[in-house]
Amino acid sequence: MPRDARILGIESSCDETAAAVVGNGRTILSSVVASQIDVHRKYGGVVPELASREHLRRIVPVVREALDQSGLTLADVDAIAVTRGPGLIGSLLVGVTFGKALAQAKAKPLIAVNHLEGHVRAVVVEALGAGQAPELPAVCLIVSGGHTVLYSVEQDEPGAIEAAPFRYARIGQTRDDAAGEAYDKVAKMLALGYPGGPVIDKLAAQGDPSAVHFGEPHMKGNPYDFSFSGIKTAVLYHLRAHPELELESRTRQAALEQGKRRAAELLPLCGPHTLGLLASFQRAVVTNLVAKTLAAAQQWAARSVLVSGGVAANRELRETFAAEAKRRGLAVFFPSLALSTDNAAMIAAAAYPRLLAGELTGDDLNAEAVLPLA
């Protein structure tokens, strides 16, 4: 019987400052996320210096708010968990330094968490909340602006899934751009604002996904690797071959500058050609992600498929995964929107099995920009 532990999680790897309190790796007592999207919007992406400055400004109120919402004080918390990497080094440092100081001042155990493991645990927390538990072994696709990577996930020891350490092996990853990065870059080319994913997802639903043909990326080597650089370039070529789309882009740019950035506001400024291009782009990206993940699931004899990270919020990705997995008799699990994007509940949840295993970290903990999970 695992012992009771309420863990305060802190996450600051990119552009969200987040804190959460999670009980026994499964019950979210609070989860607070301060997004910096507005701060970074005019730059079309996360600006590192701005990001660390914003983290500094927000981390104290965010942690305080998470404690308040959980009805606990710092004294009631059993351990502190913090994201060690991967991410933007300046951003990570804010969370790591704050977590270390807090743990030291309050004499609490400190646990370092890999952000990617957090994304895996986010799916588990969500499933447990819905009264389900994903059966292992599983394959997990983590897909976001910074990552596109496929892992196998196994549990060595019997026991409750939220308390058991996982063993990971990397099956494949992107060789160039992350899928979310491709969305952001295509959104930039077509003047659709930042972040690109949610807007393109909504607009793509209005277009013909067979309008533009994008070839499969031809890759040698690991068949489970991804590549999204080619499709980004193909969109660029398409735009060059169709200069008539330029005028629309300029109109949208003007709308964005007036603060009109919702999909509903941009939709009237997109003709069928643009919508078809977006629908075809999204179809190509989604088909690729789903096909490789499900092929890996079969190869690794996975019992479930876990999909996590910011792009896991994509409507077409969810629908396609659900339909294709069902056809194959596989269970597929997604986190809710709040747990798909960066958050600290997943960090606190990932820390729980490590706390039980006594995997604590000292005050020599350092942030790591590059930190493979496996």
């Binding site: 590192p48 992107t174 060789r175 160039d176 920009a369 590059v370």
Partner: protein, 156 residues
Amino acid sequence: MPEEKWETSSAEETTELGRQIASRLRAPVLVFLTGELGAGKTTLTKGIISGLGAAREEDVTSPTFTLVHVFHNHQTVYHVDLYRITNFHDLETLGLEDVFDRPAVVIVEWAEKFTLRADWPVVRIHLEHAGEDQRRIRLEDSAGVLAVKDPRQEKY
């Protein structure tokens, strides 16, 4: 000013060209890559970094999100991407000064965004789209630091 030009007709050829260039690079050196989206900067970098033995080709990915990747295997190689950096202040916070602590190969994508100064010699490589999979690649070695090319390796 020594200048070399190539035309490649696939991503594989661009990567292979990167490997050839790598065999002529000696740290400390800065490699500035310029060219628009999709021109092949990361693809060429895969060749350079794998050619230097610092990482496997498939482990070299776009640093657009994390901005600086560092590889320590065999020799130290930095892979920097300035795509999202908009001003000098941000550039200064990347911690690039640590990069110059000891001799390394430093590859910078989107180098045209800033006038970058360093004490190390610079090799400039410009990549251009030349139709579907074709790329025109131009190298300027104004400091004359590239080792003499081995004609047996010259393929493109």
